[in-house]
C-alpha cells in the first residue's frame, strides 16, 4: 500500500504528457487554424498508431532474437472478425480475452 518515488515520477510525468495533447486543441482551436498539411498528417496518425500497437504484439523481442507470438496471431483473426461484425469495443475485448483464455487452457492442458 505504498507509492515508490520513481513510480510517482513516472505517473506524474505520464499524466502531464497525456493531459497536454488532450487540452491543447481546446485552447488552440479558439484562435488559430492549423495548416492543412499538418491536419492531414495528423489525420493518419490514429490508424497508423493503432495498427502499430496491434502488430507490436505479433512478435516477442528478446535480447538476441525475434520470435513469432503464435497465440496472439491465432486469436487476432477471430477477434478481428468479431470487431468487424459487432463494431463493439466491449464485445470485442471480452470475446478476445475469452478466446485467449481458452487457447491458453487447451495449450496448457
Amino acid at each position: 500500500m505504498s507509492i515508490h518515488y520513481p513510480t510517482l515520477i513516472i505517473i506524474l510525468g505520464c499524466a502531464l504528457v497525456t493531459v497536454v495533447p488532450r487540452i491543447v486543441p481546446f485552447l488552440v482551436v479558439r484562435n488559430i487554424a492549423l495548416p492543412e498539411p499538418v491536419l492531414k498528417w495528423l489525420s493518419y496518425i490514429p490508424i497508423c498508431i493503432l495498427t502499430a500497437l496491434v502488430v507490436e504484439n505479433f512478435i516477442i523481442q528478446t535480447n538476441d532474437s525475434v520470435k513469432v507470438n503464435w497465440p496472439v496471431i491465432i486469436v487476432v483473426i477471430p477477434t478481428l472478425l468479431i470487431a468487424l461484425k459487432t463494431k463493439s469495443l466491449s464485445i470485442t475485448v471480452i470475446s478476445g480475452v475469452g478466446m485467449m483464455a481458452l487457447l491458453r487452457f487447451f495449450l496448457l492442458s
Binding site: 500500500m1 505504498s2 507509492i3 520513481p6 513510480t7 510517482l8 515520477i9 513516472i10 505517473i11 510525468g13 505520464c14 499524466a15 504528457v17 497525456t18 493531459v19 495533447p21 488532450r22 487540452i23 486543441p25 481546446f26 488552440v28 479558439r30 492549423l34 492531414k40 498528417w41 496518425i45 490508424i47 497508423c48 498508431i49 493503432l50 495498427t51 502499430a52 500497437l53 496491434v54 502488430v55 507490436e56 504484439n57 512478435i59 523481442q61 525475434v66 496472439v72 487476432v76 477477434t79 478481428l80 470487431a83 468487424l84 463493439s88 469495443l89 466491449s90 470485442t92 475485448v93 471480452i94 478476445g96 480475452v97 478466446m99 485467449m100 483464455a101 487457447l103 491458453r104 487452457f105
Partner: protein
C-alpha cells in the same frame, strides 16, 4: 413560435448532466472490463493498489496504462516511459481537435475540464451524436466524461485488489485485452473512413505492418511504433489524392 419554444425547451431538458450519465452507460462495460484488466496487469507489474489508483486517476488512458506497466517491468528508463506515453496518447490531440469546436462558446476552464477527461469512448459517443445532427452541451459532456472517469478509477482499483488474489492473470487471457481493444478501435476508425479513401487506408495499414515487423529486428518495439507511424503518416499525406 410556441412550438419552436417547446422544441428548445425539450432539448434543454434532454441535455442535462443526467442524460450524459445515461449516454455513458453503453460504454461502461468496455471501461470496466479494460479497467479491471489494467488493475490486474498493474499489480502483476509490481505496482501497489494505491499506485494503480493514482495511475488511473492521473493518466486515465487504458492503452498508456498497459504500456507503462509493460515498460516498467522491462526496466525501461523514466524518460523512455514518459516519451512512449506521449507518443501513444498523441492520438488524443486529434480527438480533442475534432470535438473542441463544439465548445468554443464556453469558458476556458470548462474547455480544459472537458479536454482533460476526453477518451476514445467519450469521443465516440459525442462525435456520433454530432454526426447525427443532435446538439451537445457542456453539462451533457461532463455527465458523460465524469461517469466514465469515476467508473474507470473504480474498475482499475478493483482489478488491482482482485489481482492480488490471482497468481497467474495471463492464464485468463487478460493481457490480450489491450490487443483486442486496439484492434476494435482500428476497425471503428476504418468504419468512419469515406468509401473512396478505404483502399488508401488499407494500403497504409499494410505498410505499417510490414515496416513494424522489419523494424522489430533492429529497434525496441516502442521505438518501432514511433518510427513506422511517422514514416507511414508521411506516406499517407504524400500519396493522398
Amino acid at each position: 413560435m410556441i412550438a419552436e419554444k417547446a422544441v428548445q425547451q425539450r432539448e434543454k431538458v434532454d441535455l442535462t448532466f443526467k442524460q450524459g450519465v445515461k449516454d455513458c452507460i453503453p460504454t461502461l462495460l468496455g471501461y470496466i472490463s479494460i479497467g479491471l484488466a489494467a488493475g490486474i496487469v498493474g499489480v502483476s507489474s509490481h505496482l501497489s493498489v494505491m499506485e494503480v489508483t493514482l495511475l488511473s486517476a492521473l493518466v486515465y488512458a487504458g492503452a498508456a496504462q498497459f504500456i507503462i506497466c509493460a515498460l516498467m517491468v522491462a526496466n525501461s528508463s523514466i524518460s523512455a516511459i514518459i516519451l512512449t506515453t506521449f507518443i501513444v496518447n498523441l492520438r488524443h490531440f486529434l480527438l480533442s481537435a475534432t470535438i473542441a469546436p463544439e465548445f468554443t462558446k464556453y469558458s476556458l476552464l470548462k474547455n480544459v475540464g472537458i479536454g482533460a477527461l476526453l477518451t476514445d469512448e467519450s469521443f465516440g459517443v459525442s462525435s456520433s451524436k454530432i454526426a447525427k445532427g443532435e446538439p451537445i452541451n457542456d453539462r451533457w459532456m461532463n455527465g458523460l466524461n465524469i461517469t466514465a472517469y469515476v467508473s474507470w478509477i473504480i474498475a482499475c482499483t478493483a482489478g488491482a485488489i482482485f489481482g492480488h488474489l490471482l497468481s497467474n492473470p495471463e492464464a485468463f487471457g487478460f493481457d490480450f485485452a489491450l490487443t483486442a481493444m486496439f484492434l476494435a478501435l482500428l476497425v471503428l476508425q476504418i468504419e468512419s473512413v469515406l468509401p473512396s479513401k478505404l483502399n488508401h487506408y488499407l494500403r497504409l495499414i499494410l505498410y505499417m505492418a510490414i515496416i513494424m515487423i522489419v523494424l522489430s529486428f533492429f529497434v525496441p518495439s516502442h521505438v518501432a511504433v514511433l518510427i513506422s507511424t511517422i514514416i507511414v503518416a508521411t506516406i499517407g499525406v504524400v500519396t493522398d489524392k
